[in-house]
């Protein structure tokens, strides 16, 4: 079984695909033959995705999606279905951080992270599920974080959502397995993206000393695991959380 062109004829929806891990996932699925709809929160971000796809010869397009808005989601899916067909691969990648020590955390910092990282996974997955059950085939991959398993001071909101999506995946995997749909979670460790570039140097060094492989991960190293789960090669894996963290946390 080979991964090359293994996603031909499939339509994949990747949220948060303008940069970082989401961009790498979108590009990798596209390189394997999928038609990819990559979403961004702004029109400029969506155009950037479209331009990147065109440059790399990937079928599909960048589109605007606010994952916290049911209306925005309905619009996107209606347009996607008529132009490309219903997505049967969904990668819930869009996410934000609003770090603070819990004693100082504002309700808004809690609520917005829960809404964008966890409730949106519910929202987008539910909206895509009907077409996957009809197709009797589907792949749902949630992007979590090592922080969801090991915890991290200052990220109680973020960690709660990242542990949440893994539990969500296990439950949904049990619900829809009979329809040929797998639901998994990929938990990246310390990956070289804009999200981790903002960390103070001292914290980066402290983190690095805890990684047996001695380096940050590349976004492509997350994307390859997602691609495996999305392909037929990963067809018997469901309800699982796969940690990709250079040994930083071994579960």
């Amino acid at each position: 079984m080979t991964l090359t062109n293994s996603l031909n004829e499939k339509v994949a929806l990747v949220t948060g695909a303008s940069r970082g891990i989401g961009a790498a996932i979108a590009d990798t699925l596209g390189a394997l033959g999928a038609t990819v709809i990559g979403t961004a929160t702004s029109a400029a971000g969506a155009e950037k995705i479209s331009a990147r796809f065109a440059e790399k010869g990937i079928a599909g397009a960048g589109r605007v999606l606010d994952v916290t808005s049911a209306e925005s989601l309905a619009e996107l899916l209606a347009a996607t279905k008529s132009e490309f067909g219903a997505p049967t691969i969904l990668v819930n990648n869009a996410g934000i951080t609003k770090d603070n020590l819990l004693m100082r955390m504002k309700d808004d910092e809690w609520d917005s992270v829960i809404d964008t990282n966890l409730s949106a996974v519910y929202r987008v997955t539910k909206a895509c599920l009907r077409d996957m059950t009809k197709a009797r085939w589907g792949r749902i991959v949630n992007i979590s974080s090592v922080v969801g398993s090991m915890g991290n001071a200052g990220q109680s909101n973020y960690a709660a959502t990242k542990a949440g999506v893994a539990g969500f995946a296990r439950s949904l995997a049990a619900e829809v397995g009979s329809r040929g749909i797998t639901v998994n979670t990929v938990a990246p460790g310390f990956i070289d993206t804009d999200m981790t570039k903002v960390l103070p140097e001292a914290q980066r060094e402290a983190l690095m000393s805890k990684i047996p492989l001695g380096r940050l991960g590349a976004p492509e190293e997350i994307a390859s695991v997602v691609a495996f789960l999305a392909s037929d090669a990963g067809g018997y894996v469901t309800g699982e959380t796969i940690h990709v963290n250079g040994g930083m946390y071994m579960a």
């Binding site: 059950t133 619900e175 009979s178 329809r179």
Partner: protein, 78 residues
């Protein structure tokens, strides 16, 4: 244009993967036609699509046989 009975039976047969002649009015989706809980949810969604309507959860729960589905559609869309 097929009758409501025919359209309902066709959808039940398709969704549950059974023969149309086995879809008798008194047949229970779960007991006679082998539906599981996800099948019944999908069946209701398929009926909603076919008849362009929304069936509330509390009503959907009561639709357990072919005849009850036909009755519901007739009463609410007739």
């Amino acid at each position: 244009m097929s009758s409501i009975e025919e359209r309902v039976k066709k959808i039940v047969a398709e969704q549950l993967g059974v023969k149309e002649e086995d879809v008798k009015p008194e047949a229970s989706f779960v007991e006679d036609l082998g539906a599981d809980s996800l099948d019944t949810v999908e069946l209701v969604m398929a009926l909603e699509e076919e008849f362009e309507t929304e069936i509330p959860d509390e009503e959907a729960e009561k639709i357990t046989t072919v005849q009850l589905a036909i009755d519901y559609i007739k009463e609410n869309l007739g």
